[in-house]
């Protein structure tokens, strides 16, 4: 007697109706989610890919070499990272003291201030950028490095305030008191005790700010063109001007830093830190 291992009917009775539905949904999801990614990979490593072949006839890194030879693409990468580093660093310098104050003092309007950082992210960005554009023209910031940097910092402002605020909040007061007690002044207490203890939450915020800056495109496109083209901005041009295979390579390169940072995040910081970070109190 032969048992047809691929007979769907057997599967149905082994797994039951609920399980089989879940399995089908999962399969659809995987195809939907990973299909484009796989296609991207195939494209990026396809040296020879012609109609009517379904798969490339030759794999290789020809398009990678091509992309890295394009001066404008390479420079956009370094520009993107420069902006990401600088905007993260500067917004840390600005936001961390603010977050500390928000976490330690319960003044009137505290929640309103916290919420106001959400507003920037609650409306369609393009409206915000239009009004920023008007201000920028007046201030002469249009098309300048500083102008783009400010756009990137606005992007990460909310996360840079909210996560560190809750991180500072979760440092027990008595840890600080113990430091004061053995003779440390307020400033040293902050740098030796409070900041290191709040560090995991701050690191999460910094990673998110970094990723947000790397992905920022609308604002940079409006403010930075034609002088400052970051990777996502360059992507628009790539889609229009380059072959699809080069675009795939570029898209993969864009993904790498995000993946690395998210992996780091998962490795060192648990989901609780994240969920705690978005509590308002």
């Amino acid at each position: 007697m032969t048992l047809g291992l691929f007979n769907p009917r057997r599967w149905y009775y082994i797994l039951g109706r609920k399980k089989i539905t879940e399995l089908i949904i999962l399969c659809v999801f995987i195809v939907f989610f990973y299909g484009p990614l796989i296609h991207l990979f195939i494209l990026a490593f396809a040296d020879k890919y012609e109609y009517p072949w379904v798969l490339p006839r030759e794999f290789g890194i020809r398009w990678w070499e091509y992309v890295f030879k394009q001066k404008s693409l390479v420079s956009s990468m370094s520009l993107s990272f420069t902006f990401a580093f600088l905007s993260t660093a500067i917004s840390m310098v600005i936001c961390l003291p603010a977050a500390f104050i928000l976490s330690r003092y319960n003044f009137k309007g505290r929640k309103l201030i916290m919420l106001s950082f959400l507003i920037g992210n609650a409306f369609p960005k393009i409206g915000l950028y239009t009004s920023i554009g008007i201000i920028y023209y007046k201030l002469g910031l249009m098309g300048t490095f500083v102008g783009v940097l400010i756009i990137h910092m606005i992007e990460s402002m909310m996360i840079m305030i909210w996560l560190p605020t809750s991180a500072f909040r979760s440092v027990p007061r008595q840890m600080e008191e113990a430091a004061r007690d053995v003779g440390a002044g307020p400033v040293r207490t902050f740098f030796s005790i409070t900041l290191p203890l709040a560090w995991p939450g701050i690191a999460v915020a910094a990673v998110f700010a970094f990723i947000a800056s790397l992905g920022e495109n609308q604002g940079t496109l409006l403010v930075g063109l034609p002088t400052y083209k970051t990777m996502p901005v360059e992507m628009y041009g790539v889609i229009l001007d380059y072959p699809a295979t080069a675009g795939a390579v570029f898209a993969l390169i864009l993904m790498i830093p995000h993946l690395l940072l998210l992996l780091l995040l998962r490795r060192y910081i648990g989901p609780e830190t994240l969920s705690k970070g978005f509590k308002m109190n």
Binding site: P172, Q174, M175, E177, A178, R180, V182, G185, P196
Partner: protein, 328 residues
Amino acid sequence: MAEDIKLEIRNMTKKYKTGDGVENINLKVRKGELVTLLGPSGCGKTTILRTIAGFLKCDEGEILIDGKRIDHLPPEKRPTAMVFQNYNLWPHMTVYENLAFGLKLRKVPKQERDRQIKEILELVKMSGMEKKYPSQLSGGQQQRIAIARCLLLKPDVLLLDEPFSALDAKIRSQMREELRKLQIDLKITVVFVTHDQEEAMALSDRIVVMEKGHIVQVDTPANIYENPINKYVASFIGEMNFIELEDKTIAVRPEHVSVKSGEGNGIKGTVRAVMILGHYVEITVDSEYGIIKAYVPNESVVSYYPGESVTLSFSKFLEYPKDEKVVM
């Protein structure tokens, strides 16, 4: 003798917005003395400790150490050191770093630092633990390090805020003994806060009994036990029987109640329960004045059984006016 006084609190008042707090606190602690602030939670004992340490500003009054006012100083400038209930070791630093932090601030050179840390770890029986992180230590060990961290800085006054309440009973009594020994050997002045009357009795040179933000009685453990100033203190320290009469309340310690079988001169009652508690026996008697407890030596007890008629007499008792209310 005036020069003997290490810490003095004069007319200190600290009120919170809620209306809680402490009022008119006057206290003198002698050099090398261990004084315990004792009272139920919310009575203001921790408030007093935190004003001495500088974490709270007092509304009125003065705090002096060696005759110099310190109440205007921030905590880091005060010659006090505090051991907290939850140890509060810094979790991102090793034991060594935790201990070295205060010494570094005082610019003690590295060699001297190492020597002192080694010495203090020996003193609190934690040698060789330098490289451990606080989370690798048990509660008792963490509290030893916390105490060492304070002792290292040779404070004029050591403050302890319920330091052993997070530990289990056995380690607690062991730590208690060790602390007392350290305190006597090093001749440190200590202010200790606890809600555990047993702990206060075991440790202190003097006990400050507090109720609702006021000091009720200050005396040695023995005197407080023998002569509690009012019903509140009597009920808070040790076991006490209260017998309500028409015009007064009589308070009797269980060990001052003697029990005799049968009828006789005294208070009549029947035995309700007999409980053997080691070297003595607790007899609960249902008397004409309510339940009365008696502690009697173990050997004389064989004959008592529940339901037996007995007569009680008191070898010693205290009297309090009727109108006082006991707050437990």
